[in-house]
């Protein structure tokens, strides 16, 4: 079972991101479960959403305490909420930011995990380019597809088209695709850096 | 029947059907009337509500050719009309709860609509307690949605069935079990009461009317008028209660008439929030004539009386007359 935890703030589409991820997994013939952790809904308040993906029926309902994947939609959360709590040593981390892990002040934390699985991507900026609004949720899913290979970009695009329509859907698909490329390149660079 | 024929007879209060052509006679005059509230019910001698309900429901049955369903609130009418294992009702009738009658009516109307039974109409009826107090929320909801229900309130101005406790329809100064005639301001002292007909008008519903058991033709005409339109409609009927009002059982109709003639109970019609007709007072009388036969106002009179409270009641009646134009300047 793959457990993904998405952190963000109210209004950034954190819950939709988890839902789209579950739809993408369903597209690929897998079982998926997505649900939010509810606080009183308020724009700007920290929000967490969860997604489980498996090849058999998912019966577990507890919040994801030991995620395999962490997606952080808003870097201002990094020093406010312990987003890394419970993250598996082999875990993937994708953070929405122009800056690198080191520049974000996460160098220490990074040492606990596999550094080639820790990626930042400027999702808000990419979204702004394709959507006119800095809504990073679907974009980050494109990045996640590249980072982990655990969902395909096609499935992500399908999920986006189920949730949105018309220009908004296309914009999100384009943005997700760009994020996919950006992350792919970043990973290649990281691999090079290691071998150098 | 477009213009109600007004009768003015001295010395007797008979309705005088024999002077009208057959199609203008009251529903009650006909042996073919549905008698929807059949005899055998357990109402008190002189009960205004039993009279009002029989008049109103029979009129509604005629107007709908018997295609009528009634919802009834808890209260005197419900209790005395269905003493287990008997029922007086000759039409389909449901009693649910005290405060939900308007909503039950909404549900029945919705069922008729969805089943395409557009000719089957719905009335919801209750006393003042079930209408102005506990039923107020559901009533307002029904009005706001303009559901196709005629709501009839039989107002005897207190919770009679439970022992005469005050409701928001209890008039100023009236003695009830919870507004006793003791102290410096005896009887009910809460403002001027909740004016349901005007609140109904504020919802801009198609038809609102007030009536009393003193004028059978008027009441029947208003029910017929109400049933000729669709949407939310409200009829407020003053029904004296001999027990609760402390009046003689033979005075029920007379007191209802006096309530109108004093201006205490304005009789009018309104459509979409505008008054469209009023019943003029032919022979205006001071409020004392109306209040004296009722023991619930006895504390206002006599050596330990309250002329100031009497004056307030008179002033309220005067205001009603002015506001609704109940007295023609010429006639006065």
């Amino acid at each position: 079972m793959l457990q993904i935890r998405i952190h963000g703030r109210g209004g950034q589409g954190v819950v939709s991101a988890a839902e789209m991820l579950s739809v993408a997994a369903f597209e690929q013939g897998r079982h998926a479960q997505a649900f939010p952790s509810f606080g009183s809904e308020r724009t700007g308040a920290p929000v967490v959403a969860f997604c489980r993906i498996d090849d058999r029926e998912i019966r577990l309902r507890e919040p994801i305490l030991a995620p395999d994947v962490l997606i952080v939609q808003d870097p201002t959360l990094l020093h406010q909420v312990d987003v890394f709590q419970g993250l598996q040593p082999d875990g993937y981390v994708l953070i929405n930011s122009k800056r690198s892990f080191d520049e974000l002040g996460l160098a220490d934390i990074a040492t606990r995990f596999r550094h080639e699985r820790l990626i930042t991507v400027p999702a808000s900026e990419i979204a702004l380019k394709h959507l006119g609004r800095p809504l990073p949720n679907a974009v980050l899913l494109g990045g996640f597809a590249a980072l982990s290979g655990l969902v395909s970009l096609d499935a992500v695009a399908h999920a986006i088209r189920e949730k949105f329509s018309g220009k908004v859907a296309q914009g999100n698909v384009d943005a997700a695709s760009e994020a996919f490329e950006v992350v792919k390149n970043e990973m290649a660079e990281l691999a090079h850096a290691q071998t150098d | 029947m477009n213009a109600p024929i007004k009768f003015y007879q001295t010395g007797t209060f008979t309705v005088g059907n024999r002077l009208l052509s057959p199609e203008q006679r009251a529903v009650q005059a006909s042996p073919e009337r549905s008698n929807a509230l059949n005899s055998g019910h357990r109402a008190c001698q002189g009960c205004g509500e039993a009279l009002g309900a029989r008049y109103a429901v029979d009129a509604a049955m005629r107007a709908t050719d018997g295609e009528l369903i009634a919802a009834n609130a808890t209260g005197c009418l419900e209790v005395f009309s269905t003493p287990y294992p008997e029922t007086s009702w000759q039409l389909p009738w449901i009693h649910s709860l005290f405060g939900n009658t308007a909503a039950v009516g909404t549900g029945i109307a919705a069922a008729m609509k969805v089943k395409g039974k557009l000719g089957t109409r719905v009335i919801a009826q209750g006393g003042d307690g079930g209408t102005t107090d506990i039923g107020f929320g559901c009533l307002s909801g029904m009005f706001e949605r303009n559901d196709d229900v005629l709501y009839i309130c039989y107002d005897n101005e207190a919770y009679m069935n439970t022992g005469v406790q005050r409701s928001s329809a209890t008039p100023y100064a009236a003695r009830t079990a919870t507004t006793m005639a003791v102290g410096s301001e005896p009887g009910a002292t809460f403002g001027q009461g909740k004016n349901l007909p005007m609140i109904a008008m504020a919802h801009q519903i198609p038809y609102v009317a007030t009536a009393t058991v003193a004028d059978l033709h008027d009441l029947e005409a208003k029910v017929e008028k109400a049933m000729s339109v669709h949407g939310a409609r409200y009829l407020h009927v003053l029904v004296p209660c001999p027990l609760g009002w402390g009046s003689a059982s033979h005075d029920t109709i007379r007191l209802a008439r006096l309530a109108c003639e004093t201006g205490v109970f304005p009789v009018f019609e309104a459509e979409h929030g505008e008054v469209t007709s009023v019943s003029k007072i032919r022979h205006r009388v001071p409020v004392e004539e109306y209040l004296k036969p009722q023991k619930r106002f006895a504390h206002l009179f006599g050596a330990n009386g309250h002329p100031d409270m009497l004056a307030k009641i008179q002033a309220d009646a005067d205001r009603n007359i002015r506001r609704f134009g109940l007295v023609d300047e010429v006639a006065a």
């Binding site: 369903f26 649900f35 577990l60 909420v81 | 287990y84 009702w89 649910s96 549900g107 089957t120």
Partner: protein
């Protein structure tokens, strides 16, 4: 057809397939998505003929359903928590009159303190009113139970509550298999009322009944629930044959055959329990879980039969009888009278507190070793509670309890769980 969708949308679609004729709805978290979904289907014409009425309160919602059902229409509504309480008078009225209304209860805690998260206190507060109460383990069962509920309700002429955990199920995206209209039509015939307001055959419904017959009328409600004990498994079997999956029924045992310890639970926590049981079994413990799908009527015989070989029963419930202990466990105890079993009540998840595999494993391990107290509150913060009790002992003006506790707990938003 397989879909990945939110629980409430699945329920809305399933209810629509049942051809409801009058839907009346008042919004309350967490059921709102269900009625919004249905409202859209009616407004777009996809669900027709159907009257969708936006009522002004939950009391009105149940009252409109009463009027509609008494007039012969298939009626549906949904609520939760405070809303269920607000309509309580009408809830009793509906079952007292024998009207086959179906209502979704998106289980949510009852205040004060106000709490929008899941537990079973709402439907439990109405467990004696005569409504049948069915509990869904997951979203597939939630949608299936609504289809079964209409059939059950109309056959018996009794209203049915379908309970699904608020947020945990209503707001969870899961894979579900949605039946076709043809499949539902074949399973659920049009509503044929036992009593109906019809000018062609007038009846009076809702008369006062005094001491001479009241007991008999109430007994008949009980007799109907006893009939339901037979019909519920039969309907579930028919459903399984037509739709190809097990859903509903009275109870569902999981790995109980040779279990020494059996955990009893209702609703979505059964899923988490199954995973926990698998882990514990792998470690050698002989443990199983018995899910209860029908809470009212309470399946005394089925529960008793399932527990025949066990040494101990742990009732894990999201409900609480203040001043006594468990609600479900009290009912279970009735099923086990005369049997020699250790009984444990574990109150968990009140007000939406997460029930984790780790806590369950720890608690059940203690139970299996008979080291558990008869009544425990899982994951209760004892220092927090004790601090408040001390505070109250020290001073009269100790302030609102909730405020004091929240101040002690600290900023909730900075926590992950």
């Amino acid at each position: 057809m397989l879909k990945q969708t939110e629980g409430s949308h699945a329920v809305a679609e399933a209810v629509a397939l049942c051809r409801p004729e009058v839907i009346c709805a008042y919004p309350i978290s967490p059921q709102t998505h269900i009625v919004e979904g249905l409202g859209e289907l009616v407004k777009s014409g996809a669900l027709t003929p159907c009257e969708f009425i936006n009522v002004e309160s939950e009391f009105a919602a149940m009252s409109v359903a009463i009027g509609a059902s008494a007039a012969g229409a298939r009626a549906y509504t949904a609520t939760a928590s405070q809303g269920l309480l607000f309509m309580a008078e009408a809830v009793f009225n509906a079952s007292g009159l024998g009207l086959p209304i179906v209502m979704t209860v998106a289980n949510r805690a009852i205040g004060a303190p106000i709490n929008i998260w899941n537990d079973h206190s709402d439907s439990m507060s109405q467990r004696d009113c005569g409504w049948l109460q069915l509990f869904a383990e997951n979203n597939q069962e939630a949608l299936d139970l609504h289809i079964q509920a209409f059939k059950l309700a109309e056959e018996l002429s009794m209203p049915v509550m379908v309970c699904m955990d608020g947020f945990i199920l209503t707001h969870a995206y899961e894979r579900i298999d949605m039946p076709t209209q043809a499949e539902v039509d074949a399973f659920l015939p049009p509503y044929e009322p036992r009593q109906v307001l019809d000018p062609a055959e007038p009846v009076s419904i809702g008369a006062m009944v005094g001491p001479e017959a009241f007991m008999e009328v109430r007994y008949l409600a009980h007799a109907k629930q006893n009939q339901a004990l037979l019909r519920i498994p039969q309907i579930a079997d028919e459903f399984a044959r037509r739709f190809g999956r097990a859903s509903g029924g009275l109870v569902r045992p999981y790995r109980c055959e040779d279990a020494e310890t059996i955990v009893i639970a209702l609703g979505s926590v059964i899923g988490t329990l199954k995973d926990t049981i698998d882990d514990l079994r792998a470690g050698g413990m002989k443990i199983g879980v018995l899910g209860i799908q029908s809470f009212r009527p309470f399946p005394l015989a089925a529960v008793r039969a399932a527990l025949q070989g066990a040494k101990r029963v742990v009732v894990l419930e999201k409900s609480f009888c203040v001043g006594l202990g468990g609600i479900v466990s009290t009912d279970v105890r009735m099923a086990l009278s005369g049997m020699q079993l250790h009984g444990y009540t574990v109150i968990a998840g009140l007000g939406g507190r997460a029930i984790t595999k780790a806590s369950l494993a720890r608690t059940l391990t203690e139970a299996a070793a008979d080291k558990l107290q008869p009544l425990t509150f899982m994951d209760l913060d004892w220092p927090l509670v004790n601090r408040q009790l001390e505070r109250e002992a020290r001073m009269r003006r100790s302030g609102p309890i909730a405020e004091n506790l929240l101040r002690d707990v600290g900023t909730v938003a900075s926590k992950v769980i």
